[in-house]
Every structure is written in C-alpha cells, then in structure tokens.
C-alpha cells in the first residue's frame, strides 16, 4: 500500500467535486428558490411529490412520518435517529453486498443480476406467506400457501439459494469452462438481470407487496427510537454476517474460498476444487441476498419487483468503497453507504438520498479505485 498521495489524483478529485457542487448550487438556485428554507422544505417537497410512482410515494410517506414524528417527542434527536437508521440500513445492505463481493472475489464477475436476487428473496417470502391466493406464471390456476412468516422466510431463502445453484450449474460454470471473457459474462449478467426483473414483475405484478400486516411497535431509547422487529432484523443480520465471517476465517472450506479469491489457478493446483467452491459461493451469495431482501422488505414495510434493482448500485457503491472482492470491505462499505444515505436526508430531499451514494461511488473511483481495504494495484 503506497502512502504517497498522488497530487494529480487529489487535484482531479477536487476539481470534479467543485464542478459538481457548482452545478448543484446553480441548478438548485434555478430550480427551487425555496431550498434555503432548510429541512422543512425537504418534508414538504416529499409530500408535494405526489406524481411519483406509488412505490416511491409510500416509501417517502414512511420517511416523512418518521421525520415528522421526530421533533414531537422530547429527547429525540434527528441526527442520532438518522445515524441509527443508517446503521440499520447499512447492516441489511451488507447482507446483499457481501454476496456480491464474494462472487466478484472468486470469479471476477461483477454480477449485475444480484439486485434481482434481493427482490426475488423478498417476493418469494411474500409468495409463501401471503394469505391471499397466488399463482405461478403461465399456470392459469391459483392456490393459497399462507405459511407463517418464519417458515416462509426459510423456504424463500432455500429457493433463492437453489436459484444460485441452478445459475452456476447451467449458466456460469459452462461459461467459465468455455473461457468466455469476463466482460462478456458481465453483459450476460446484465441480460439476466433484465430477464429476471421483468420475470418478477410478470409473476408478482408491479404493486408493493406487504410481507406482514402487523404494525411494528417502536421503543424509545432516549436519543432515538427503533422498532422491535427492526431490532430482530439487526440481530439476524449480525448472526448471518458473523456466520459468514466464521465460515471464511475458521472453516476449511472458507479458507479454500479465500484461496480461490486470491489466485484460482494456484488454488486449483494445490488441490482445491475451484468449481465446488464457486458453486458454494453462488448459493451463499444468493441466499444472503434473499435474507437481505426479506429483512429490507420488513424494514420498509413492503417490497416491489424493482426494490433490488434500485439497491444494486448502492451495493456496487458499498463493494467498491470497501474494495472489490473483499467481503469485509463490503461490510464496511455498506455501513458507510447506509449512514451516508440516511444522514443525507437531513440536508437534501429524500428522493435524492440514493443519488448521494452514487456520488460517493464516483468520488471513490476518483481517489482510491481499489477501495478502503483493497491493495493498491493497477486497475486501468
């Protein structure tokens, strides 16, 4: 790791930052003279955005609710509240991005279809748990499953991991065997993402689906409040991430995974069955994405077919920030992105919070393309 800071790189970052800031200021000055009124406008803006898609409106609605409720209770602090929200969101995001990072590490593939795995997990859980009749695409009859939430989530995760296995068995592993270049594989994953996104929409429709009808009870912790089911989500997510860490650091297969990440050829030469490891990684990644999708759907109250597509770039931002291919970097990156996204709503409109994450991503690529934990290497 070089400690010498490249002056040109800093200069470049500075200029882009200044230009972006200037553009933003000019645009806001032209666009909305009311911005100076501060955070209150953010709330009214969000209310005014009735033209937004229903999905966004509901989401904005819940956020407005949280914002509006915050000043009313004494002892509540919006900054702390947003920080906590950000940490929670970051942890849930980490579940999905760790998988993305593992896939990148072992196969070198930037999997653009990973976002759809998140939506698939959430909506499969809905499929198993909803008391309403459901149907499968192309089959003209309906039936009711209606499992309780917990078994439904397990079933959804199992099916999602199964899709990972199927994908690797019938798509990625043949492609690797044919020595299809990484760039080609990336475009294949883009095609897969387009197909899956529309398949999920075809299956579940464009509406937001609620996994559970129960209303989350919020407990007041002095400086902030947090829902009880959110606490459960955090616990589950910590257990899952801890499990991944234990697997990678302590188990034999986990060491093999890291070896494949480091150097597939060498790993193969030392007797590790690379294909087995990669298949396991695919199942883990898709399973984790499903866990993340279900927990995020519970956190956001509902999930739509495009929830993962909107999160995909946040995941890429997190993974790049932490260093492509470093699972722990993905965790750190997700937390940073989560906090940045939620904290940014203090200053910019809630409909711009994802834009902040993408801005961070581009800045990271400017200054330190290898990420926080990545080794300094030539990436161009």
């Amino acid at each position: 790791m070089t400690n010498r800071v490249d002056r040109r790189v800093l200069l470049r970052a500075l200029v882009v930052l200044v230009v972006a800031a200037a553009a933003f200021v000019v645009l806001t000055a032209m666009g909305s003279p009311a911005l100076a009124a501060g955070t209150d406008t953010a709330v009214t803006h969000a209310v005014a955005g009735s033209g937004e898609a229903a999905a966004h409106a509901t989401q904005a609605g819940t956020i407005i609710h949280a914002e509006a409720a915050a000043p009313a209770e004494p002892g509540d602090n919006r900054v702390v509240q947003q920080l906590v929200n950000g940490l929670v969101f970051g942890l849930l995001l980490a579940l999905a991005s760790v998988g993305l990072s593992l896939i990148y590490g072992t196969t070198g593939l930037s999997n653009f279809a990973h976002g759809e795995q998140v939506s698939l997990g959430a909506l499969l859980c809905f499929f198993f748990t909803t008391p309403q009749p459901v149907s499968l695409p192309l089959l003209p009859f309906e039936f009711t499953i209606g499992l309780p939430l917990f078994p439904a989530a397990i079933a959804a995760i199992a099916v999602a991991a199964g899709t990972g296995w199927l994908q690797d068995k019938f798509l990625w592993s043949p492609l690797r065997r044919r020595r299809v270049s990484i760039v080609q594989q990336m475009i294949v994953s883009i095609g897969l993402s387009l197909a899956m996104l529309n398949f999920i929409q075809w299956w579940f429709g464009a509406e937001r689906q609620r996994l559970t009808t129960s209303i989350d009870e919020r407990i007041d912790m002095g400086l902030f409040s947090i829902g009880i089911s959110t606490l459960w989500s955090v616990a589950i997510s910590l257990v899952c991430l801890g499990g991944v860490a234990y697997f990678l650091m302590r188990t034999r297969t986990g060491r093999a995974t890291r070896a494949v990440s480091d150097n597939p050829a060498l790993a193969s030469a030392s007797g590790i069955r690379v294909d087995k490891v990669v298949r396991l990684v695919w199942m883990m990644a898709t399973g984790l994405a499903a866990v993340g999708g279900i927990l995020l759907a519970l956190y956001d109250n509902a999930a739509a077919f495009d929830v993962g597509a909107r999160l995909l770039l946040l995941m890429f931002a997190a993974v790049t920030l932490g260093g492509l291919g470093h699972p722990f970097g993905a965790l750190v990156g997700s937390l940073v992105i989560g906090v940045a996204v939620e904290m940014s709503t203090l200053w910019v409109g809630t409909d711009l919070k994802y834009a902040v994450a993408l801005g961070i991503l581009i800045l990271v690529l400017l200054v330190r393309p290898q990420g926080i934990l990545g080794r300094a290497e030539r990436v161009g």
Binding site: R12, T28, L35, A48, E52, Q184, G191, A195, F199, W202
Partner: protein
C-alpha cells in the same frame, strides 16, 4: 395483416430512429473503442433535458441543439476524466452510476421547476420550434398504409428528419472508422498497451470517443423526446440495456449494425406483443403481463447473443469487441 402493417410501421417509427442513433453513439464507445459505457441513457436524458429546458425558456432550435450537445460533451468529459484510466468493469459501474445520478437529479423535487420532477416536461412545452419548421401540411397524411400527422409529435416530418440524421451519423461512423483516427481507436480496443507503445495518447483518444459517442447519444435522446415527452424514468437502466441489446443484435463495430438492430428490436417487440395477445389465451398471459413477458425475452436474447453470437447479425467474428 394489421399486425404486419403495425410492425412495418415500427420499422421506420421515430423511436426506432432515435434508438438507432443512440446505438451509433454507443458503437463509437463499444464497437470502435471497446469502452463499456453502461450509462448511455444518461447521455440521452441529458440531451433531452438540455434541448427541452432551453427551448421552453425561449431558445431557438439551433441554440437548443447546441446546448444539448454541450451538456452531453461536458458530461462525457467529467465522466471520462476519472474513469477512462480504470479497468472495463470499473468503467461500467461508474457510468451506470453516473447515469442513474442524472436520473435521480432529474426526477428529484429539488429541481422541480427546472426539470419538472418525476413527471418530466410535457411535449407541448418544447416541441413547437421543431414543428414550426415542418414543410409538410398541418394534417394527417396517409402514405401507402400508414397514417401519421404531417408535422405534430411523432409525425412524418420527424420520421424524415430522424432518418436523415441516422443516415448522416452512420456515414460519419463509416468515414471515421476507416480514418487514421478510427484505426487508433480500433487499436485501443484490441490492445491498449500496444497502441501506447506506439506513442499514442490512449487516454485522450478514449476521451474523444467517449465525448463523440455521448453527443450522438444525446441527439438520439432529443429525437426520442421530440416524438413524445421528457420523462426521466423512461431513460433508466433498462433503456441502456435495450440499446446494448440492439447494438449487439445488429453487430457491434459495423456501420449498419445499430440501424438493423434497432429495426429488428422494435419490430420484434411489436410482433411478440401482437402474437402473444392474439394466440396465448388471457387466462395464461393477461394483457398486463405481455409487456414484462416480452422484456424477459429481450433479456434472454441479450444473454444468448453475447454467449453464442457476440458479433451479431452483421458483425465479423474476427472483429470481436470483447476484450478485458
């Protein structure tokens, strides 16, 4: 029969021309230089905004076009600066993020009075300067089997202008691709280090290609907007992926590939939707499901193309543009 006429109508519709033009821009990026620009819709959206906003504020048509071009060129410069030194997949992630950033900014309520928020800018606010130029009569005109308005919205006038623009830029691509400049770009696509060893400034060449392709993409966006309205969510990631699909379908690094690809893409979308609604009973595939169903097929087509026939219909196997 109607279906056949409809799909032939789609062959020369303004939307087809707009996507063909955007794909020619992407062909400069990917086909010629090998740049993985996954944010082409961002260029298109910026062109649309540049044109629509300046026209609705009273700019004449030439100024509006210049503004659209300048905005796209600036975006290309700003985007290319940090990313063109990075490896291909980094470039892809950076461009896709930048394009989404543009879309988020455009649809945000903060810029409501400038960009119209998520509802966008209505067509009537910016189409008039273009429609006033139309020499065609102000009424519906039927040519052979197809009826369009002479000069309003997606009119015969727009059809003519759009295809002339596509032809001009295809000609430009043809000329530039066989010029010394184009040969350097092809060299970069095949082996960047070799070109660098010859003393060429690879970074600068890549930047020129990125800006030129982006500007053409922005003009494609303007054509698209002239046939409808400026709607930020119509220029999301799926749009970029469609352009990729049709470019790879027609054949990257060919002159006519983007045009043929766009025609086949739009015609088959109409055909699939028409055939599906005609032959598949609605209990199996209800009308609202036909749209996602046809787009599933688009995704699968993209996958199969990349795996089995990366050179597309017209492409040359030896001129494979997939390099790491």
């Amino acid at each position: 029969m109607n279906l056949l006429l409809d799909s032939i109508n789609e062959l020369f519709a303004p939307a087809t021309a707009a996507f063909a033009l955007a794909a020619i821009g992407l062909n400069f990026h990917f086909g010629l230089t090998g740049l993985l620009n996954m944010g082409h819709a961002g260029f298109m959206l910026l062109g649309m905004y540049g044109y629509a906003i300046s026209t609705s504020r009273g700019a004449p048509i030439w100024l509006a076009l210049v503004i659209a071009i300048v905005v796209a060129a600036l975006f290309g410069l700003l985007l290319g600066w940090p990313t063109l030194k990075l490896r291909g997949d980094y470039l892809a992630i950076a461009t896709i993020s930048a394009a989404e950033l543009v879309r988020y900014l455009g649809r945000s309520n903060t810029l409501q009075s400038l960009t119209g928020g998520s509802t966008g800018i209505r067509g009537n606010d910016f189409k008039f300067t273009f429609e006033e130029l139309s020499p065609l009569p102000d009424e519906n005109i039927t040519f052979l089997f197809w009826t369009r308005h002479g000069s309003l919205s997606s009119s015969w006038w727009l059809v003519i202008v759009a295809w002339v623009a596509v032809a001009l830029f295809a000609l430009l691509y043809w000329q530039l691709a066989r010029s010394p400049w184009g040969r350097v770009l092809k060299g970069i696509r095949e082996d960047e280090d070799a070109v660098r060893a010859l003393g060429k400034n690879v970074y600068s060449y890549k930047m020129q290609a990125l800006v030129l392709g982006g500007v053409i993409g922005a003009l494609g966006g303007v054509l698209w907007a002239l046939g409808g309205s400026v709607q930020p969510d119509s220029m999301g990631r799926p749009t970029t992926f469609w352009i990729w699909t049709l470019l790879l379908l027609g054949g990257a690094a060919t002159v006519l590939g983007p045009i043929v690809g766009s025609m086949i893409f739009w015609m088959s979308l109409v055909l699939i939707k028409g055939l599906a609604s005609a032959f598949i009973p609605s209990s199996v595939l209800s009308p609202v499901e036909i749209e996602p169903f046809s787009l599933v097929l688009v995704g699968i087509t993209l996958m199969c193309l990349v795996i089995f026939r990366p050179q597309g219909i017209l492409g040359n196997k030896r001129e494979l543009a997939f390099n790491d």
